[in-house]
């Protein structure tokens, strides 16, 4: 069974601080996605990383996929109150036929950025 462990579960910081969220597994994934979910809404995709070692930047957010494609991190620089939300990592499950396209989600990191 492929599982994704996400940490920390909760994170409360002051505006301007930096933070990193981790997503770890003992399994290899075909790709890793990061989503952000706001209360009362569905998750919205932030980024997809596919290649081991890949780094992608989205303004103040930096995403990295581990070399072995088993882990990923999300780093936010100079966090702002607008970054507040639930961050979810999701791994693309390796497999054949019907299991392709199946996402395994981590349990999420609830981030609160205080002004």
């Amino acid at each position: 069974t492929q599982l994704l462990e996400q940490s920390p579960q909760f994170l409360s910081i002051q505006e301007g601080e930096n933070l990193t969220v981790y997503c770890n597994s003992s399994s290899v994934f075909s790709s890793l996605q990061w989503y952000r979910q706001e209360p009362g809404e569905g998750p919205v995709l932030l980024v997809t990383v596919v290649t081991g070692g890949e780094v992608k930047k989205l303004k103040r957010l930096t995403f990295q996929f581990g070399d072995a494609r088993k882990d990923s991190s999300l780093h936010i620089t100079a966090a702002q109150p607008g970054d507040t939300g639930l961050y979810l990592c999701a791994g693309g499950r390796l497999g054949y036929g019907g299991s392709q396209g199946n996402l395994i989600f981590g349990k999420g990191t609830k981030l609160s950025v205080k002004p």
Binding site: G92, G98, Q100, L103, K107
Partner: protein
């Protein structure tokens, strides 16, 4: 224009009842999904359909029956509702359904089901 829409937004019902949740996507995607998010925010896939055909069924009780009348719609019918079915149910869609190519899943706003 809403890409993935679900109705109803909220559903409160008694144990033992049968209920349906509807989902529609106007993105022209081939693949649609149902996910369940529990009270701890854990999101887990239930079903996946590609072009009206079931391709993933993740050990969901057979009280849950998805139906796809066409590739733009994927409805979820639940029989004999139980307390443990209370959760937020999300519908999603993607172009192809193959994540290795960076396929993006677009989620609906969710349906909060409360079983009393």
């Amino acid at each position: 224009d809403t890409a993935v829409s679900q109705t109803p937004k909220y559903l409160v019902t008694q144990m033992g009842n049968d209920k349906s949740i509807k989902c529609e996507q106007n993105l022209g995607h081939d693949t649609m999904y149902w996910y369940k998010q529990d009270s701890k925010k854990f999101l887990k896939i239930m079903f996946s359909y590609n072009n009206k055909e079931l391709i993933i069924n993740e050990t969901v009780p057979n009280r849950f029956s998805p139906k796809s009348p066409d590739k733009a719609h994927l409805n979820l019918h639940i029989n004999s509702l139980e307390l443990g079915d209370s959760a937020v149910y999300f519908c999603a869609s993607s172009q192809v359904g193959r994540l290795a190519g960076g396929d993006t899943q677009y989620f609906g706003p969710g349906t909060r089901l409360t079983v009393l």
